[in-house]
Symmetry: C2
Subunit: 118 residues, 2 copies
């Protein structure tokens, strides 16, 4: 499975969600899967990248067409219930940042840099 | 250790680096530590958040005061050498996105949402 989001040319938006799991993770996995499934049905959802280490520190970045798409997702009723459980049960702490992606590249189109270094 | 970056009020910039490790990781850890050490000495560096799962999929988000600070870090000679090794040895693939953070909050100042849900 490719874990990279195949996003369009910028500009678009990123929601950067860094978080530390608590020890109360009942139903977390199934709700997280359901949220991902729901998010992909939202108009303006562009993709997501997510990872977490063994200590429970995770970063999830979701990508959205515009602020309106982010607002619609935030106000989705089922997502609102899940967020409340996140705040009260599953996360010891989190930071959430909304950012406008201005430029992007991948390994395939990175400057090689070789010439610079000679 | 607090894994969260203590960033100032937006606006500021985020460099979102999602990556998949290759199987050639010689010297990766020591160079990564050195890059972190170097980055923290750069003018305009605001913090970093990073995590990686057991499959080698990682996300590192570094935070910067402005585009000039990002450009200065990108052109740092030792960092340029490390980036070349990243492209040719340590990473099977990566995506790098530069984004302007417009708003941010943490668990401590998240809306509780409780009222909304009643």
């Amino acid at each position: 499975m490719d874990r990279f989001a195949q996003t369009p040319e910028p500009p678009y938006f990123a929601v950067i969600f860094s978080n530390q799991h608590s020890d109360q993770l009942a139903e977390y996995e199934q709700v997280a899967r359901r949220m991902l499934e729901l998010a992909t049905t939202m108009d303006g959802f562009l993709g997501v990248e997510s990872t977490r280490d063994a200590s429970g520190f995770g970063i999830t970045v979701s990508y959205w067409r515009d602020e309106e798409a982010i607002a619609a997702w935030k106000s989705h009723a089922e997502h609102a219930v899940a967020r409340l459980r996140g705040r009260t049960e599953w996360y010891k702490n989190f930071h959430l940042r909304v950012a406008k992606v201005e430029r992007a590249y991948s390994l395939a189109n990175a400057e090689t840099g070789a010439r610079k270094l000679l």
